[in-house]
């Protein structure tokens, strides 16, 4: 109902360096380097607290940030944000940084 649970490797398995608003990330287990734009680093930070569904990830992110989703009218805004977040999570999955349980 809430969708699949996602997980990421713990932060000590990654090296990150901020570059001009973007994040360079070295993923130790795969030896691969990625450049991440927000909200990708924030999604990984949210998963540092443990596996979570997309709505939970969004809630964790909202503890620290005011989230701006795609422009939608009132009631649709939250579900719009969730849909976009799910797309972002899928990108992280494709890059091998997030997987589903």
């Amino acid at each position: 109902m809430a969708g699949p649970r996602f997980t990421a490797d713990p932060p000590d398995m990654m090296r990150t360096v901020e570059l001009d608003g973007l994040t360079a990330l070295f993923h130790l287990p795969s030896g691969t380097t990625h450049i991440l734009a927000p909200p990708a680093p924030q999604i990984l930070a949210a998963l540092a607290d443990g596996p979570a569904t997309a709505p939970t990830i969004l809630a964790r992110i909202r503890r620290a940030f005011d989230v701006e989703g795609p422009r939608r009218s009132g009631g649709q805004r939250r579900s719009g944000a969730l849909a976009v977040l799910e797309t972002r999570i899928a990108e992280l999955e494709a890059a091998g940084l997030v997987s589903r349980l």
Binding site: M13, H34, T53, T56
Partner: protein, 135 residues
Amino acid sequence: MSDLEDQKPAEQSPEPSRRFVLALGAAAASTVVTIRPALAQTAGSVLNCQIPVPAPQAAGSYIDPDGHIVAPGTPGAFPPAPRPLTGEEVKVMLRGGPSPAGIDSQSAQAYANYIRRLQAGMSGFTCYASLQMPR
């Protein structure tokens, strides 16, 4: 952490200017760019990738002889590998070569079977996949 966490939007803080705005971006934009090697011949150096056995998500679980993850202490199953295995070590193991330093041959076989069962999205899969690629 429970999945039934409160999903209400965060309370409006009395000083909203203290919080940063995080834009999720348009659905079509791309937020992850993976660096590819400049020269194909230097792709996927096996020396630099590692496979934890089992993956961190199953930390503490044991591995049965067929490579399945089982509860810790299951009879006939093997404890987690003492350290992540390097791509080079895994390559040798999968070819039936000697087990890595500090690991007995029966455990190594179980680990090898675990690695063969890795799927996309599981920690270490990228490393395993790059071992399969011809140079």
